[in-house]
């Protein structure tokens, strides 16, 4: 008889496959995981505590730094929450700009995921392709608001900067370019047998489990639950545009992969409709009081970020600063299912499953 001993292995917080400073302690029996305990907080900056001493415009840059791969949607959830409380109207041009940057951001965010996921699994070149194409979006944002990652672009009542001349044409040119590249991605990776063997049937769960764990985004839709907040509870201008919500059936890593790639296509489809409708001229800031003081009370608003449902719960006492500000971060909630998924899997699958959840540690820890 071969005697095996249980091995306690520490993964992270500096491991490159943990996408930041996420740490997980696994108990191994041979190569099989018997227990997995995530350890978080290495990137906890106390955003919610800091926010209690800042006014709402000052909080916007902090939201950039939560999910730094998708800062535009984070900006939006905060300003949208304040606008809901104050009943502010946003000019059409500003709302269009918001929608366009959010969809571009979704494409950019999924590209980062696609590139790094394949890098985790062992394919180097897709990472370079993804970052090459994402760079175009980053350059567009840079031109729009002078930042590559932390945009600080949206304001309560509108957006900070209008689109510079010719900017919208560049967005228009980007759409067919990206569509062509997506085909290339599919040819390069999606049918690869080694890749399929690594992700098909891995990290499976059913719809009931996904709902129980409060998963959202591709993690929920891969089980076939049709729940995309852009359709289910439309915000911004999403009800005006035609797009499909891609769904999976098996709830495995492969379905999550397919959904995210398809979501890029659907985002491009929304952009294709939105760019020609963009108002010729108009205001980019609505009529907003000089000091933003939401009335006393509370609100919870949620939108669909690339990672799932991002929510903002504001408790206001009628002051310029929030009394309590809580963010529902999709990465944090989605990650909860990880210990359950990992039991009985091998070490190699740990990386596949963790990558498939698509976390950004800045958002997990907040």
């Amino acid at each position: 008889m071969i005697r095996t001993e249980e091995l306690l292995l520490n993964v992270g917080p500096q491991h490159p496959s943990t996408h930041g400073v996420f740490r997980i302690v696994v108990k191994l029996d041979g190569e099989v995981i018997t227990e997995a305990t995530p350890v978080m907080g290495y990137l906890h900056r106390g955003t919610e505590k800091i926010a209690e001493n800042l006014n709402f415009t000052q909080i916007i840059p902090y939201t950039d730094r939560m999910d730094y791969v998708s800062a535009m949607t984070n900006n939006y959830v905060l300003v949208h929450a304040v606008e809901t409380m104050m009943g502010l109207e946003v000019p059409l041009r500003a709302e269009f700009l918001r929608l366009i940057v959010m969809e571009l951001q979704r494409v950019a965010s999924h590209l980062v995921w696609w590139g790094t996921y394949l890098l985790d699994i062992g394919a180097m070149s897709p990472f370079l392709y993804a970052f090459r194409d994402r760079e175009i979006i980053i350059d567009l944002f840079n031109e729009l608001c002078g930042a590559r990652l932390t945009y600080n672009y949206m304001r309560v009542g509108g957006v900070k900067w209008d689109a510079p001349p010719g900017w919208m044409d560049k967005v228009r040119d980007f759409i067919p370019y990206m569509e062509k590249k997506l085909e290339e991605y599919d040819k390069l990776v999606s049918g690869n047998e080694i890749f399929l063997a690594r992700i098909k049937g891995i990290g499976k769960y059913d719809a009931a489990t996904a709902i129980d764990y409060g998963l959202s985004g591709a993690n929920l839709r891969c089980t076939g639950v049709d729940w995309d907040l852009r359709k289910a509870e439309p915000y911004s201008l999403y009800s005006q545009f035609e797009f499909d919500v891609p769904l999976g059936q098996n709830g495995d890593c492969y379905d999550r992969y397919r959904i995210r790639l398809e979501e890029i296509r659907q985002s491009l489809r929304i952009l294709k409709q939105a760019v020609p409708q963009f108002p010729e001229d108009g205001e980019t800031m609505g009529k907003v009081p000089r000091v933003i003081r939401p009335p006393a009370g509370e609100t919870y608003v949620r939108i669909e970020s690339p990672r799932g449902e991002i929510g903002c719960h504001i408790v206001s006492k009628g002051k310029a600063e929030p009394y309590r500000l809580k963010f529902r971060r999709p990465s944090f909630v989605n990650l909860q299912i990880l210990p359950k998924l990992l039991v009985g899997e091998t070490m190699t699958n740990l990386i596949t499953i963790l990558g498939g959840v698509d976390i950004v540690v800045g958002e997990v820890d907040c």
């Binding site: 106390g46 505590k49 409380m85 609100t299 929510g311 719960h313 309590r324």
Partner: protein, 220 residues
């Protein structure tokens, strides 16, 4: 340093030291403060007059009112008659039906909210803890994925020895959310399978999001 530069620096420090208080600036500030006070007084007067002239008309009931009534009726009927402390439609949040549930009954009410056939709040979106200084509150935002109906449920608890029964046995998603609330606000959740700190280090003293929080080591 050359002689010239030295002289320049000296001149700079001299000019700063010469007038620590700018009388002109002082006067401007004073005038601005007076103007502000006058404006505030005028606004108060106008508001008072307006309030006297037209008493606020009763608003038409919200379209979500029946939803709220249904939830309250079900809780009263199936959990306990006195389980509901208060219930209202939150206008600041798109008429969100909001129910304040008594802490003693929260355990049975949470089961009811998820499993009752008419309610079926199967998706718990968010759990937040709020320190109101007079008391603590845990807010649950939930939605039924089938009917798209949503509700906010609040449970109040004392500030000292704050404790609310855990919702993790009902919705698995409450697990880490409750750990975060325990970590940052110090509310205990009996019935939770794994109650530990989640964000702060295990040996951290205090709960940072409490309004009376004082850091143990101010250098940190």
């Amino acid at each position: 340093m050359s002689e010239e530069q030295k002289n320049k620096e000296k001149a700079l420090t001299d000019s700063e030291g010469a007038s620590p208080v700018d009388p002109e600036r002082e006067a401007k500030l004073k005038a601005a403060a007076e103007a502000r006070a006058a404006r505030a007084a005028a606004k108060e007067k106008a508001d008072a007059e307006a309030a006297e002239a037209a008493p606020p008309e009763p608003k038409p009931p919200s379209p979500k009112q029946p939803e709220l009534d249904a939830i309250v009726a079900l809780i009263r009927q199936q959990a306990a008659d006195d389980a509901v402390e208060d219930a209202y439609v939150n206008e600041l949040n798109g008429d969100m039906p909001t129910v304040i549930v008594k802490n003693d009954h929260w355990r049975s009410v949470s089961q009811l909210l998820k499993h009752n056939e008419q309610l079926q709040f199967n998706y718990l979106r968010n759990v937040s803890g709020v320190d109101y200084e007079s008391h603590m509150e845990v807010v649950y935002h939930m939605v039924s994925l089938g009917s798209k109906r949503e509700a906010a449920i609040k449970v109040k608890t004392e500030r000292d020895g704050a404790s609310v029964y855990s919702a993790t046995p009902v919705w698995a998603t409450a697990n880490w959310n409750e750990r975060e609330i325990f970590d940052l606000l110090g509310i205990d959740f009996p019935g939770h399978p794994d109650m530990r700190r989640i964000m702060m280090p295990d040996d951290w003293v205090g709960h940072p999001l409490r309004k009376d929080y004082e850091p143990l080591d101010s250098e940190v």
